[in-house]
Symmetry: D4
Subunit: 149 residues, 8 copies
Amino acid sequence: MSWNVYLSGEIHTDWREKIIAGAATLGLEMEFSSANTDHASSDSAGDHLGEENNSFWRDHKSAKLNAIRIKTLIQQADIAIIRFGDKYKQWNAAFDAGYCAANDIPYVTLHDESIIHPLKEVDASAMAWAQSPEQVVEILRYVSAGPKP
Amino acid sequence: MSWNVYLSGEIHTDWREKIIAGAATLGLEMEFSSANTDHASSDSAGDHLGEENNSFWRDHKSAKLNAIRIKTLIQQADIAIIRFGDKYKQWNAAFDAGYCAANDIPYVTLHDESIIHPLKEVDASAMAWAQSPEQVVEILRYVSAGPKP
Amino acid sequence: MSWNVYLSGEIHTDWREKIIAGAATLGLEMEFSSANTDHASSDSAGDHLGEENNSFWRDHKSAKLNAIRIKTLIQQADIAIIRFGDKYKQWNAAFDAGYCAANDIPYVTLHDESIIHPLKEVDASAMAWAQSPEQVVEILRYVSAGPKP
Amino acid sequence: MSWNVYLSGEIHTDWREKIIAGAATLGLEMEFSSANTDHASSDSAGDHLGEENNSFWRDHKSAKLNAIRIKTLIQQADIAIIRFGDKYKQWNAAFDAGYCAANDIPYVTLHDESIIHPLKEVDASAMAWAQSPEQVVEILRYVSAGPKP
Amino acid sequence: MSWNVYLSGEIHTDWREKIIAGAATLGLEMEFSSANTDHASSDSAGDHLGEENNSFWRDHKSAKLNAIRIKTLIQQADIAIIRFGDKYKQWNAAFDAGYCAANDIPYVTLHDESIIHPLKEVDASAMAWAQSPEQVVEILRYVSAGPKP
Amino acid sequence: MSWNVYLSGEIHTDWREKIIAGAATLGLEMEFSSANTDHASSDSAGDHLGEENNSFWRDHKSAKLNAIRIKTLIQQADIAIIRFGDKYKQWNAAFDAGYCAANDIPYVTLHDESIIHPLKEVDASAMAWAQSPEQVVEILRYVSAGPKP
Amino acid sequence: MSWNVYLSGEIHTDWREKIIAGAATLGLEMEFSSANTDHASSDSAGDHLGEENNSFWRDHKSAKLNAIRIKTLIQQADIAIIRFGDKYKQWNAAFDAGYCAANDIPYVTLHDESIIHPLKEVDASAMAWAQSPEQVVEILRYVSAGPKP
Amino acid sequence: MSWNVYLSGEIHTDWREKIIAGAATLGLEMEFSSANTDHASSDSAGDHLGEENNSFWRDHKSAKLNAIRIKTLIQQADIAIIRFGDKYKQWNAAFDAGYCAANDIPYVTLHDESIIHPLKEVDASAMAWAQSPEQVVEILRYVSAGPKP
C-alpha cells in the first residue's frame, strides 16, 4: 500500500520539504499533502466571492474554503505529522490534532523540548513525539515497511 | 430535555462561573461540566502512579488521566463553549474544538476581537462567536428554549 | 418508552398544535419539539452578537444559532413530521428531511395532494405521506402502541 | 488525488456545463457527477416496472430509482455544488444539502442574492456561497491545488 | 441496568407470553417489545391514509408504518429473540435477524431442530440457538445477572 | 465509476446469468458478485476443518465460512439484487436484505406477484421491486448512466 | 453524571471487591459491572441448551452467551479496568482491551511490573497503568470529580 | 477484487510463509500484511526518539510506533488470521482479535487443540478455527473464489 501523510502546522521553516525529501531518498511509497502553506493566498482565499468590510467575515470565508481542503485531506490520511514552531499561536495545528484524534487518524507531533508542557494534551493523544524531521522520516519508514525479508 | 454544556479553555478568569450563574438566574435546565480547572492538581494528576524523572512522561501521565475525563464529558455534551484568553498557548482549547468538530458537537467560541485572525480556523467550524459570558448565556437560553408559548 | 417527535416546517397554520392536542387526547407518551417557530425572533436570533450591515451575515448568524437547536433535537428524535404548506420556498423543511434521511431517522411528510410532484424526492425517503394532522396523530398512536392486549 | 464533485439542483440553465468546462480549461483532476438531468426521462424512470393509475405511486417509483443513483454518487463525492434557480420549488436540491450536511460532505451553494433569506438554513451549513459558475470553478481550483511550488 | 428485549417473528403461538411470564417470575429487570402482533391490524395499518386498488401499495404503506415501530425498537434493544415456527414464509423474521447482525445487536434464535438447515445462515450470526421459551428465559436470566454474590 | 452489484438469493434458475449477460450486452461498467451458488460445495465448505457428528455444527461451520464471503461482498456493493423464487424457505435472502437495509446499501427485489404479501417487509425497505431479470438490467442501466449527453 | 465502570480480567484475587469498596468509601457515583466471575458457572453457561460431546462446541456455546453480557456491558461503560494476574493465559482480558480500544472506550490496566513487556501493546492503547486497586480508585475519583470547589 | 489479509500473532514458526506460499501456489489474488515480525527491531522501534531509563516508557514508545502500523493495516484488511502458539503470553494477538471483532473485520484463529479452553472467548467471535496453515489457505481460497463456473 501507499501511505497518505498529511503535514499540518508551522509554515515558516522547511520541515515539510525535509520530510518529503527524506522519504524520497529512501524510496518510501507515500503521498504527502498539506493545507495551502502560502500565508497571503490562504488569507485571501475567499476574496473572489465578494469584498467584506468586516475582518471577521473575510477571515471566515477564507478559513471555510481552506477547511474544505484540510478536512478532506485529513480524512484520507493514514497518518498526520503535526508541527509546532516556537512562535505564533498555531491554534489551527492544535485543532487539526483534535480533529485527527476524534477521527482515529494516528498523528505524530514535531516540536522542541521547550514546549512540552503547553502541548501535553496534544501529545497525550499522539502516537509519538519527534524533535526533528529526520526522526519523522525514520518513523514513516518504519511504519510503512513490511516485516524484514 | 436537559442540555449538557461543556466548558473548555482558559482557567484564569471567572467566565465559567458567570455563565453558570447566568443560566441559573434564568432557570435554564442545564448541566455544566469541565476539565479539572485547578492547574496544580491537573498537572500532578498522575503523580500517584509513580515518580518520573522525565518531565515529558510526568506530563504524559497526567494529561492522559485528564483526557479520560475530558473526552467522556465532551462526547456527552450537547454543546461546548470554548474560551480563549489573551495569554498562554491554550492549545488544549483548540484541540477540544477540533475534537468537537469531528464528533459533530456544536461549539461556540468566546474570545476578544483582538485574536480573530489566529482563531479563524477554530471559528470557521464554530456555530457562533461570542465576546462575553452574557452573550453565551443568551445563546444557551435561546437554543434550549422551545417555541414561544 | 416515550417517543421524541420533531415537528419541522411550515409555521403559518396550527398543524403543530393539532398534532400535540390529538396526541394528548389519546394519552400518547410523547415529547414534541420544534425549531423556534416565531418568525421574527428566529430571524433576529443572532442580533445580540453584534450588528451586521450585510444581510447575508445577519441571516447566517441567526441561522447557525437556530441550527444548534434544530440539529440537536432532530438527532434525539425517534420520528420527525415534516410539513409543507402551499406557500413560500420552505427549503429548510426539505433540508431537514435530507438530514433525517442521512441520519436514519424515520420521517412522515404532511402536505396536500397538489404538491406531490415537486415533493417526490422528499416523499421517496419518507416512511409515510399524510394529508392531515389527524392522520399524523393516528400514525403516532399506531407506531408507539404495543401489541394489542 | 482526483476530486469527485457532485452537481445538484436546477436543470434549466447550463451551469453544470460551465463548471465542467471551466475545470477542464484549468486541467483540474476532477470527476463530475449528477442525477439524471433530463426531466422527462427522470419522471418516467420507473414506468417500465408497470403502469400506475395513481400519480403518487408513479412519482414514488421513479424517485426511488433516481435516489439509488443520487445517494450513491453523493456518498462518493468529496464536495457537492448545490444550485438554486429563481423558479420552481427545488425541494430536491435542499434535500440533497441536508443529506450532505448529515454525511459530513462539504457543499457550496450557487444562487442569486435575491434568495439569500429563504436559503439561510441551507447556507448556514454550506462551506461557501457562490453567485456564478466562475466562482465555483475558482473554489474547485483552490481546494484541489496543492501548496504553491 | 434494565435490559431491552425485542421479540421478533412467529405470531401464532404464545412463545412471547411464555418468555415474558418466565422473566416476570424470576423478577428480571427487563422491558419487552414487539412489532404489532395482531395480523389484521398490522396488514391494515396504512389504510387510514387512503384506499389503494393495488395490493402491492396497500401492503407497502402498512409495512412502512410497521417498519417505523420495528426499526426504532430494534435499535433500542440490548438483545433480540427471533422465533421461527414451522409454517409460513416468515421472511420478516429473517430480515430482522440481518438487521440486528448489521447493527451489532446480539440475537438468539428460537426454533425446532427440523429447520436447522434452512436457518443455517441466520443461526451463523446468532449468539445462541434455543428450542424452547424456557431456554430463552434462562439465557435472559444468565446474561442480565451480575456475578454471583 | 464502476458499480459493484451483489446478487443474493435463489440458486435454481438462471436469473444471475441473465442479468450479467444483459449488462454485458449494454456495455455497463459493473462488477457482479455472489455467494457460492453451488449448493453441495456451499454446504460442505467447512468439512475440511474436521468432521462433525452433529448436523447443527456442520452447518454452522460452513455457514460462517460463507458469511465471510457474503458480508465482505455486500459491504463493498453499491447495490444488491435480492431474488426470491417460489420454492424453499430462502431465509438467507431475507437476512441479506435486512443486512443491506441496516448498512444503507440500496437493494432491489426480484420476485413474482404471487409472493407480494409475505415479502411486504422486505419490499418496504427496497428501492424497487422487479419481476424479471430484464427489468433489473434496465434499472442497473438507468442508475449507472450519467445524464443524457 | 454517574460513571459506568467495567471490570475485566483475573478472577482469582479480590481486586474487584477492593475497587468497589474503595469507591463506596469515597462516595463515588459509579456503577460497576463484570462478566460472570464464577468460573464453573461461566464454563457451563450453555449446557442447558443441550449436551455436547465435543469440548470445542461446549466452550463455544458458553463463551457466546458470556459474550452477550460482556459486549453489552463494555459498550455501556465509560471506562474499563483491565486486570492481568501473574498466572494463566488471560486472553479474554487482552481481547476485551482490544475491543475497548476499537470502541473508543478508555481503559486502565492493572498489573505488576513483572509483566510490563508482554503487555506493552495492551498498555500502549491504555490511558494509564496502575499497580494496585488503590491507585485505580484514585483514578476513578479523579476523573469523575468535577473541578475543585 | 483483491483481498487484504492481515496475519497476526506468533513469530517463532513459519506459519506466515506457509500461508503466503500456499496462496501463491493457488494463484489467489491477495495482499498479505503483518506487524514487524522481527522481535529485536520491534522492541527497539522507538529508540531513535531518545533513550529511556525506564523500561516501561521504552516499551511504550516502541509499542505505539508498532500500533500505527498494526491498526492501519487491520483497518484495511478484509480478513485477519490470528495465530496462537504454545508458548509465551501473546496478549498482542488476543488484543488484535478484540480489535477486529469491534471493527467488524472477520478473523480466523489458527491454534492447536490443546489451547481451546483458554481461547474460547477469542474463538467465540471468530468465523472459523483452523489447526494448520493448509486449512487457512483453503479458507482463503474458498471465501475469495467466485461461484463455480
